[in-house]
Amino acid sequence: MFGYGWLVLIAPLLGFLSLSCLGKRIPRSIAGYLGCATVGFAFFISLILLVHLSVLEPEERVGGAQALYTWIDSGQFHLDFAILIDPLSVFMFLIVTGVGFLIHVYSLGYMEHDPEFKRFFAYLNLFIFSMCVLVSAADFFFLIVGWALVGLASYLLIGFWRDKPSAVLAARKAFVMNVIGDVGMLVAAFMIFETFGSLSYQKVFEMAPTMFLANDMNMILITLFLLVGAFAKSAQLPLHTWLPDAMEGPTPVSALIHAATMVTAGVYLVARCHTLFELAPFTMYVIATVGIITATFAGTIAMVQTDIKRVIAYSTMSQLGYMFLAVGLGMFSFGMFHLMTHAFFKALLFLGAGSVIHSLNEEQDIRKMGGLAKAMPVTYITFLIGSLALAGFPLTSGFFSKEAIIMGAYHSEMGNILFWGLAVFTAGMTAFYTFRLFFCVFQGDLRTPDAHPHESPVTMTGPLVILGFFALAAGVLGPWVDSFLSPVFGGHAEHYQDGFLETIAVFVGLGGIMTAGLLYMVRSDKIEPIKEALAPIQEILFHKYYVDEIYDFLIVKPVKAISVFLEDMGEKKGVDFAVDQVGEQVREVSKYVSLWQSGRIRDYAVNMVAGMALVLIFVAFL
């Protein structure tokens, strides 16, 4: 039915292969356009798929798995390499290739002066390919393949500036965290295979409701292990520490991978496996709880960070928390909707930040910025749009998606006042830190006098404008998203209307913006004492609750220490020693045995006679 679906995958793959293997033969000028073109082509195909799907009856939209070739056939383990074209995957295709395309274009300008321009585009293409594999996988195996490949691409791009030790470190951290997630997924896949005898989505999702009642132990375990992967990829507590560090990568990468697409894979996973998760309400509750806690946790940290990209990174974590809250509460299409709007406005914010950084010659500290509004009008306006959307300002896209989630946090089946309260509180914080950032960067006076900020080239501002448009207007797509995805989720998510709660949420958001304005626009001495009073809290928040340090102390150091210990005690003093001792002891014993060989003829004679006596005894008596 969708026989051309594989074109989405093949285009970026070809781009990656040609850029990486034929590196020297492709001129630099073409390389960038080639990278963009492949993704653009993939986006085009995705659009065709969208149209194709839209003209079908809703019932026919699901289940279009397309086997490309038999990957393995071992015992009862049979696996095809198949791609699944259904509304959910096409929805993700659109976001990935669409935002991806814009960011590719943006990178043309951003990375213009980088000596390793081609390698960058090769990696970006690899990422798009991997992400497409992830979302189009028709079974858990290729889900894991895509899952790990995006982790790889993320690793490569975080560590793109390989001369920087901090980037190398951050890349490694991200990869290892992701591998932990992969292993969780792997275990889940084994459990699924053992339980259902198949890894294909279609079979598993068909069999699961008929085989298990809600909260069956099997289902809970499977979903929890899937969740390990999801949490690692989406930087949820406690596997979140890699995401802020991942900002070491080039800014377009942060926009594409660590805001718009890859980190949302966890949400996608939960949405994709909603059949399984719905059978495990316990896990759903875990998801919602972890989601809202992460949202609050990251929001508090974001309030005090000074690195422009880190603020946005923590905000990403926080927004991902919202998405998990949504899917955890069973509002899958809202989660996906927020995923989409978030992809727009967060990519926009990152790209805007990139534009700022670019013009200030790699300066990332917001305390040294300010007053850029005049120098960079396009960036200024688009960034404002992004900030408003993120803060959930009414009628922007973020408002619609976030509002739906906050309402659901109270009204949905598992929702309660605590979820709602934290969600609203976080919304307030979001508004606060977003505008703190905004005001610090664009308002006031320039705090580094020797900088000469300038507007970025059109390759960079163009994507900003387009994304700005979507960040502003994508809110109207909400109902469409819901109806488009409903065949996958088997129904519409209920949109709860509650004017009172809605008003509170809006006002909390506005309050956040106002507070930021008060604190950072109006410089008054009255604020100083408050700041001083809050200094200890700020200290904790600035150090991100010391999670990195705790992990370092609890996990990294012991792992290294045990490794050294094992080599020392296990190898040198253990296994080696034991084996060497066998030899040593033989030698030691032989030292005594060799005394028997005294070298004196008479002793030998005695031995001989003794032997003779023994033989004679043997002959005579036995």
Binding site: S20, G23, Y69, T70, W71, I72, D73, S74, G75, Q76, F77, F141, I144, V145, W147, A148, L149, L152, G159, R162, D163, K164, P165, V168, A171, R172, F175, V176, V179, I180, D182, V183, G184, L186, V187, A189, F190, M191, F193, E194, V559, K560, I562, S563, V564, L566, E567, G570, E571, G574, V575, D576, A578, V579, D580, G583
Partner: protein
């Protein structure tokens, strides 16, 4: 055909001894010709091989000792097919790589290398226990001299330990081989050393247990499996890289191959009773090796410890005793052979370029050497089991096999989680290695540092291609392995020992 494959390297080796000591070019061309021809023939095997046939193919025999019915009988099935090709392939790589290095006694070195290749190939194709044993020992002798004469560091200690260790195991195996045939003789009053014939013999549980232990010890030492691995780090650290390609790539597989060829069909009940224990050792070895590798500074010993970890996977897969696990193990043997030997080549290249292989003295080689950077990355990723590359296929099948295994069922979940931990550790140490050597900025790099040359590229390229190909399309490999594994797992016991009534009627 198989006779050619096995003995061509030996003939070439003999020819090398006959060569003039100083003639470099003819020595190289003979060595290269011998291994190349061997590879050519073994690739032909691929075309003649019937993938549906689960029996032995290309069987060829030669009577050796007639009165005891000992034959020099060769044949391959899906399991040994890939290992033979792998060995022939690695043989060519090793010879190419060693000719690109300076070596005073190249003639002797190459001759021993070729003899080693014959030994390994012979092990993989032997269908007769005695000839298996002979080739098994034949592997040992050249490697003893290679490590002892061309090694580095504490080479005498290393080689002595290696040889003594393996010898203990193989002598136990000889005892078991003879006992096995005696059992057969008691049952049927005929002599046979044929593996196929013997594996149809029914053995009682106690006999199975001790014979299994004898065989298993020999193989476990050769693999080597934790905690019998003590020789490996020393031997690998000392061994010159070209020989290491064969030793790590092919010879260590001989142990695992032996487990599949002997232990699985011959001693099913012993496996059932001991699988949990062996699984615990193997799983422990995975984590142990990986964990130690995390803090290794010497690249060679890092890869050595990572080998211990990966070989733990292989053994675990074998003793999951179901088709996925064993097929995964066979595939992983091939994978590990490719990856580990390629990694060792890279370590060798790094050492020759920088004069050191200590991780804390290496830095930032990626910038002047983009090709090596890319290849190193690909191989490191394959080694850490990145999905889409070959390492993952094997690990996935193995762990899937373990998870669904009947023999390991009590502990399966724990073993799989340990495997997961090993994968996580693998990502840590592989990245330490790759990033430590290739990334960051280094002002002290030699000015004339150049990227790898054509020969080195040519050596690494096939490995890279295979890494990707097996990762993307393992079906042709698994299809050929599958039927043979099934027949090894379900050996029919048709030859019965005399039961109690028969025994009493003899008196």
């Amino acid at each position: 055909m198989l006779f050619f494959i096995v003995f061509i390297p030996l003939v070439a080796s003999a020819a090398l001894w006959a060569m003039d000591k100083d003639s470099v070019a003819p020595v190289r061309s003979i060595a290269l010709g011998g291994t190349g021809l061997c590879l050519l023939f073994s690739v032909f095997l691929l075309f003649g091989f019937e993938s549906e046939n689960n029996g032995m193919q290309f069987v060829a025999g030669l009577t050796w000792v007639e009165s005891l019915n000992i034959n020099l009988k060769f044949g391959i099935d899906g399991i040994s097919l890939w290992l033979v090709i792998l060995t022939a392939f690695l043989g060519v790589i090793a010879v190419i790589y060693s000719t690109s290095q300076k070596n005073d006694q190249q003639r002797e070195f190459l001759a021993l290398l070729l003899a080693l290749e014959t030994g390994i190939l012979g092990v993989f194709v032997s269908l007769d226990t005695i000839s298996f044993y002979v080739f098994w020992e034949l592997m040992l002798i050249p490697s003893y001299f290679i490590i002892g004469l061309w090694g580095e560091g504490n080479r005498i200690y290393a080689t002595t330990k290696f040889v003594l260790f393996t010898l203990v195991g193989s002598l136990l195996m000889l005892v078991a081989i003879l006992a096995l045939t005696l059992e057969y003789h008691t049952a049927t009053h005929e002599w046979s050393f044929d593996i196929d014939t013997l594996s149809h013999m029914h053995l009682d549980d106690g006999t199975q247990l001790w014979m299994f232990l004898c065989f298993f010890l020999a193989f476990a030492i050769k693999v080597p499996m934790f905690p019998l691995h003590s020789w490996l780090p020393h031997a690998y650290k000392s061994c010159p890289i070209p020989a290491l390609i064969l030793i790590t790539g092919a010879m260590s597989k001989a142990g695992a191959y032996g487990m599949i060829r002997f232990c699985l069909p011959l001693f099913p009940s012993a496996i059932e009773s001991l699988a949990l224990l062996i699984g615990a050792c193997a799983a422990g070895g995975m984590v142990y090796g990986a964990w130690i590798a995390v803090m290794q500074k010497d690249l060679k010993s890092l890869v050595a410890y990572s080998s211990i970890s990966h070989l733990g996977f292989i053994v675990l897969g074998i003793f999951s005793y179901n088709s996925q696990g064993v097929e995964g193990s066979v595939l992983q043997m091939v994978n590990h052979g490719i990856i580990a030997s390629a990694l060792f080549i890279i370590v060798g290249i790094i050492e020759s370029k920088m004069g050191t292989r200590q991780l804390d003295k290496l830095k930032g080689m990626g910038t002047p050497m983009p090709v090596l950077y890319g290849m190193f990355m690909l191989l490191a990723l394959a080694a850490l089991g990145l999905p889409g590359l070959n390492g993952f296929v094997g690990e996935f099948l193995i762990l899937a096999g373990v998870w669904t295994s009947v023999t390991l069922s009590d502990m399966a979940a724990i073993y799989v989680l340990m495997g997961g931990a090993a994968i996580v550790f693998a990502s840590i140490y592989m990245l330490y290695m790759f990033q430590g050597a290739m990334q960051e900025k280094n002002e002290d790099l030699p000015k004339d540092l150049e990227d790898i040359n054509c020969a080195q590229f040519g050596v690494l390229l096939p490995a890279c291609i295979l890494v990707v190909f097996i990762g993307l399309y393992p079906k042709p490999f698994v299809d050929r392995i599958g039927p043979s594994v099934d027949s090894a797992l379900h050996a029919e016991k048709t030859v019965n020992l005399p039961s109690a009534e028969d025994a009493s009627s003899h008196h």
